[in-house]
């Protein structure tokens, strides 16, 4: 089995706490092409496991939902629906999750979620967040 791997990785500049300034974020592109087996995602280990995904979906719906609404249509916190988030820079949303937004009620979730998990949440929020099984 032979891999042709194109691995371009530009690490994002650590997000500023407070999110007031501009963000530098780079393209993260990591593509592997398995000549024999077709396209394969070699980043699989960077995404949460299926079981962890289920936990995260529950966390977002139930716990983020206590301010943003279980349907994510908003509450005391703003709505988190794709129509509002799809064109926002993902990195700034990731930083908001991990570090919170000082000066607002949004707390930091970095003690409970890794950066990759936050990235996975943002990706799902921008596309339409899954329901709990």
């Amino acid at each position: 089995m032979r891999f042709l791997a194109l691995d371009v990785k530009i690490l994002p500049v650590p997000a500023q706490r407070g999110l007031s300034g501009p963000f530098f974020y780079g393209l993260l592109c990591c593509v592997a092409f398995n000549v024999l087996g077709g396209v394969k995602n070699v980043l699989a280990d960077e995404f949460p496991s299926l079981r962890r995904q289920a936990d995260i979906v529950r966390l977002v719906r139930q716990d983020c939902g206590s301010c943003h609404g279980m349907t994510l249509a908003g509450g005391l916190g703003p709505a988190l629906l794709p129509a509002l988030l799809h064109d926002k820079p993902a990195e700034s949303l990731v930083a908001t999750i991990l570090y919170g937004r000082p000066g607002t009620p949004m707390p930091p979730w970095g003690d409970f979620l890794s950066e990759n998990e936050a990235r996975w949440i943002v990706d799902k929020l921008q596309k339409g967040f899954p329901d709990e099984p």
Binding site: Q62, S66, M70, L76
Partner: protein, 390 residues
């Protein structure tokens, strides 16, 4: 009368006898919100059982309710702006209206004739006839600049008044609805940053709003409105690093125990003890996490506390005279609400992730049993019908 007629009459009277509802009161009834299903359970506390379920209430992910003064109907306020009138005895929806895009709670007037709903989107209060759910008043929450504000902490007050707070604008409004067609409003501005919830003392005299944006509480004495809103417990955590708050405390359950008020601190794992005569902090009780509900047992001897994520699997009981924690236990993940039976011998807890409501003896702390409920959140017993602010 022919034989046929006689048989028909006999059959009809038998049928009506069967259909005649069994008479019962509502004083031992309650409603449990099944938040994920848009459904409520009707429960009774005498035999600790589920009498039935009523479906079709929309998005109940954040829901609360008030009772009609006869204790028969529940007015359920859903997250999606739905207002649903549920008949506890017939276990059915009487009427349902979508009155806004996003609501947080409501209140019923002193005379029982008006139901007011606090809305986030668009921000404001709408008032409905409690009988028909016809809208009788619409009061948008616009600040001086015309900007819309989310409404929180809506309660009823003596004199057929409603009181609420504007989260974004930092204001408290008092509305007199003796004449519902033309509400008389009194507005108090600059009461503090981000009032997130409020309560009224059981006598209907003091309205207290908790502030999220700064340390302290805003206090309005409804017996002395000209004196305006006072700030109390200013900077109660000065110089201390605030801890993150993963769920807003609720103030409906603030515990008034005689001369003392026990309130959740914000961003601190403490319950604050406030002297009601001088409105000063007289003590702090270290607790397991960020308190959410701080609920007094009806005799005021004990206060039960639940907590925000990630400590929401735990409940603590405070002995009020000694201000000591006398019991800590873990019913399961997602303890969302605590409700005492009317005279307090039992505490009912909703345990969201275990899909059950647990019932405890409030003196021995022994678990008496549980009831199945799908992702239960709020538990509301009908004795609230006769309490100001609930």
């Amino acid at each position: 009368m022919s034989l046929n007629t006689m048989v028909a009459v006999l059959a009809a009277s038998l049928l009506s006898a069967c259909a005649a509802p069994q008479l019962r009161g509502t004083g031992d009834l309650g409603v449990v919100i099944e938040r994920a299903k848009g459904r409520v359970e009707i429960v009774e506390t005498s035999g600790r059982s589920v009498l039935g379920k009523v479906d079709g209430l929309g998005d109940l992910s954040h829901a609360s309710l008030n009772y009609s003064r006869d204790g028969r109907y529940a007015y359920v306020f859903g997250r999606d702006g739905g207002l649903t009138k549920v008949d506890l005895l017939e276990q059915r929806i009487v009427k349902r209206v979508m009155q806004s895009g996003n609501s947080i709670g409501g209140a019923i007037s002193q005379d029982g004739k008006l139901v007011a709903v606090a809305n986030y989107t668009p921000g404001g209060v709408k008032v409905f006839d409690s009988n028909t759910l016809e809208q009788v008043a619409d009061i948008p929450a616009l600040d001086e600049t015309g900007k819309s504000s989310k409404v929180v902490g809506l309660v009823d007050a003596p004199g057929n008044r409603f009181v609420w707070s504007l989260f974004d604008a930092g204001e408290i409004w008092v509305a007199n609805l003796k004449n519902p067609a033309s509400p008389v409003l009194e507005k108090f501005r600059n009461i503090g940053k981000e009032p997130y919830d409020a309560m009224i003392t059981a006598d209907g005299r003091y309205y207290l709003a908790g502030l999220f944006g700064e340390d302290g509480l805003a206090l309005l004495d409804l017996w002395d409105m000209p004196s305006g809103v006072k700030r109390i417990l200013n900077g109660y955590g000065k110089g201390e690093q605030k801890l993150p708050v993963y769920k807003m405390p609720h103030l409906e359950g603030w515990a008034a125990t005689g001369n003392e008020l026990l309130v959740p601190a914000v961003g601190r794992h403490e319950v604050l003890v406030v002297d009601q005569n001088h409105w000063q902090e007289v003590g702090r009780i270290a607790v397991h996490g960020q308190p959410v509900f701080v609920v007094a047992r009806p005799d005021n001897r004990q206060v039960w506390v639940n907590f925000a994520f990630p400590h929401n699997d735990t409940v603590q009981v405070i002995d009020v005279p000694s201000r000591k924690i006398v019991h800590t236990f873990k019913p399961g993940k997602g303890v969302l609400h605590i409700e005492f039976t009317p005279r307090g011998e039992q505490a009912w807890l909703s345990v969201r992730d275990e899909n059950r409501v647990e019932v405890y003896d409030s003196e021995s702390f022994e678990k008496l049993g549980d009831l199945q409920a799908d992702s239960p959140s709020g538990i509301f017993f009908t004795h609230r019908a006769h309490r100001t602010g609930l």
